[in-house]
């Protein structure tokens, strides 16, 4: 554990360097719940706007539009319009997006595995807080 610890800290950059600011900007995109979920589900292949909306659940039309536009701008997804009536719009991961899918999926796996521990921690915290509030 201690060794892994050192390894991880080695990639943390000096916060004042421009590199770090750039990485920070990228993290603002990938460190966003909706982006993470969308990249994760597009890993299975292209999806239409409404399919994504249904699969993500709880995302507003506007937020989904903004997130997809942000992902497209970052070169992570492509948007393809098919000239059908009504027009069909597909979103698909680019090569860059597929390379992001790998670490994103690893995070998703962690989230699924650790979720019971996190919920238990939340219950303990809330109990401590309510006890402190009552005291």
């Amino acid at each position: 554990m201690a060794e892994r610890h050192t390894q991880v800290t080695a990639i943390v950059h000096d916060p004042q360097s421009s590199d770090c600011r750039a990485v920070s900007q990228v993290l603002a995109r990938v460190g966003d719940k909706w982006s993470v979920l969308i990249v994760s589900l597009l890993g299975n292949g292209p999806r239409r706007f409404n399919e994504i909306k249904r699969m993500v659940g709880g995302i507003s039309q506007r937020m989904l539009t903004l997130t997809l536009r942000g992902l497209e701008r970052d070169g992570l997804v492509t948007r393809t319009v098919y000239p059908t009536v009504p027009p069909r719009v597909d979103y698909e991961l680019t090569d860059l997006g597929r390379s992001l899918w790998i670490p994103v999926e690893a995070l998703g796996k962690w989230a699924r595995e650790q979720q019971p521990q996190i919920q238990a921690a939340q219950r303990r915290f809330d109990q401590r807080s309510s006890e402190a509030g009552a005291a």
């Binding site: 990228v26 460190g31 299975n44 699969m55 070169g75 999926e105 699924r112 996190i118």
Partner: protein
């Protein structure tokens, strides 16, 4: 890779099951992603990976976070069991934040994401410039 593929299949199934349920907000994976899919939380955990830090040290390390947001993020991370808060009875009392074992277990998957951001940010910046150039009217 087959493990990853089966994981995404499970995740997608989960997502589609979830889409049919009444309250997608209760999706447990979503709940966890609310935290770890947050820029400030990621930066905070990576900063605490180096060593325990005081509030002011964290604020210096992540300078563009507001004090209010820093307080809230630390509280949320503590509530999720990812970090612990230690108060020392000095005058004035000093408060130190440390990664909890659960937070430690997040380092490796998170480091992979940071590593990706580090390796590919130039591609992303190039894509942004291209997109912005293409959409200028």
């Amino acid at each position: 890779m087959s493990t990853a593929l089966s994981a995404i299949e499970r995740f997608s199934r989960y997502q589609s099951d979830d889409a049919q349920s009444v309250e997608p907000v209760h999706c447990p994976v979503r709940d966890v992603l609310d935290r770890i899919g947050d820029k400030w939380s990621i930066l905070m955990i990576m900063t605490l990976a180096a060593r325990p830090q005081r509030f002011s040290e964290l604020h210096r390390a992540i300078r563009d976070i507001s004090k209010r947001m820093l307080t809230q993020t630390l509280r949320d991370l503590e509530r999720d069991g990812l970090i612990t808060r230690h108060v020392f009875p000095t005058k004035p009392p000093s408060v130190e934040y440390r990664l909890a074992p659960l937070g430690q277990s997040l380092l490796e998957p998170m480091a992979n994401l940071i590593d990706w951001a580090d390796r590919r940010y130039s591609d992303i910046h190039a894509a942004r410039a291209c997109f912005d150039g293409a959409t200028v009217v």
